[in-house]
Symmetry: C2
Subunit: 287 residues, 2 copies
Amino acid sequence: MNCSKHITDLRENIKQARNQGKKIILIPTMGFLHKGHLSMAEHARRQDNSRSKLYIVMSIFVNPLQFGPNEDYEKYPRDLAGDSKLAGEAGVDLLFTPSVHEMYPEGQNLTTVNISGITDELCGVRRPGHFQGVATVVNKLFNIVLPDFAYFGQKDYQQVTVLKQMAEDLNIPVEIIVFPTVREKDGLAMSSRNLYLSPQEREEAPVLFRSLQEGAALIAAGEKQPEIVREKIMQRIRNESNGKIEYVEVRKANNLAKLNTINCPVVIALAVEFGRTRLIDNVLVEV
Amino acid sequence: MNCSKHITDLRENIKQARNQGKKIILIPTMGFLHKGHLSMAEHARRQDNSRSKLYIVMSIFVNPLQFGPNEDYEKYPRDLAGDSKLAGEAGVDLLFTPSVHEMYPEGQNLTTVNISGITDELCGVRRPGHFQGVATVVNKLFNIVLPDFAYFGQKDYQQVTVLKQMAEDLNIPVEIIVFPTVREKDGLAMSSRNLYLSPQEREEAPVLFRSLQEGAALIAAGEKQPEIVREKIMQRIRNESNGKIEYVEVRKANNLAKLNTINCPVVIALAVEFGRTRLIDNVLVEV
């Protein structure tokens, strides 16, 4: 596996791969890799074990632009040595680990990409500027790597929806592919932030997926009112944990729009704080 | 010369040219072509008269996003048949003339590109949202065409500065090249909007370039104070025309920053209204 800290270097590697006729896959991450990240690389590698058709680029960059002033940018877990080993084993061809200065050189951070509407809701309410930061850095990564495909995890459902909107609106020639959330045995969605949980919080946290599943079952059984689904989920979280609910929402799956009656594919999404750790999760429900 | 109204079609043409090893040049315009536009295409063609190395794409799109509600979007002059003839004669390989719907399909206009700071000054004061509209549509064109080079005229100096900043900030793999303003014999900068001028306004308008030249001469003769240069220019415009001055500014040439002492290359830029027609112009001055 090749590693690049610098954009010029990275581009040179990618150019060579493209000249060999390979398609470029980008997997943007903030590192501290877990099975959620690695399963995407492994999936890509399985399509091309001989390394003749695909070139898998993974980026690891904790992007300061997407963290609010009181968020966990400083303490966000980092382990470049460990990540490097895991990425190599998963079949990544090129690991991009730029510094903050490489991504945002002095005087080179005046431009932002803004997606209106959907970025102000759900996670955007408590994290103003977050999706602007995500969209801007992913836009930069797309321009740096020029990937044919970009892989993202479904766990960050709103993020994926925002990025798909950006790619469509700005005619970015990339196909965005969303991978199912990878979970611990007890259902907790894998996340680098799970590390922050105390033993008791960790024990309580699987209530999120249980309650989402209950919501999905209600809808599958014919429930048409989002409010009733939301209430059931919130009740269960309150009953079975000390989690502080930030939101539980039932939205249209394709664009996160509100709906009065559940008559199309929906996503049930939530954010809950366990102590000082904010967790998100979601499930898709076909109707 | 090929013509495309559709993005898929355009991309196919460009892909073929790229596969033949040609470099792609993009010349974005709003049409109603004049020598300012055509000189850029002719320049490119002269580098490659045999059409073996370069592929020149010109876009013609009057972008609604960059016009304010009380501006001249509706009445902006359009002449696709004439433009098509001129572009072909100038050596353009591919003319891209998308409809508004092609560029902004329904539900596909939530994303904007914002460059902070420099977009709020000079022309941005009276045209809020203008540079956001320009940056967004040019970003889209860059993603659609993926040009190696993009050509712009110096007449829209602030626009070029904004777009260079965008390309740098977002790591867009394009080289932006700025061409000198092409002028009428009496010095008036060529512009599609000159058409709006009444005979008397047209007669008065060359005062803009005369006054800019006087300003440049002052600086060349050692004047260090921007205020004195500005005053001289404004005085002359007031003395020799009925033009209503919107701004006259002396700024750093590289980033349009304000300066107290002229000790680096500067641009003198102005906007003046003749009747209901707003004209802009600028000159660069080496120090």
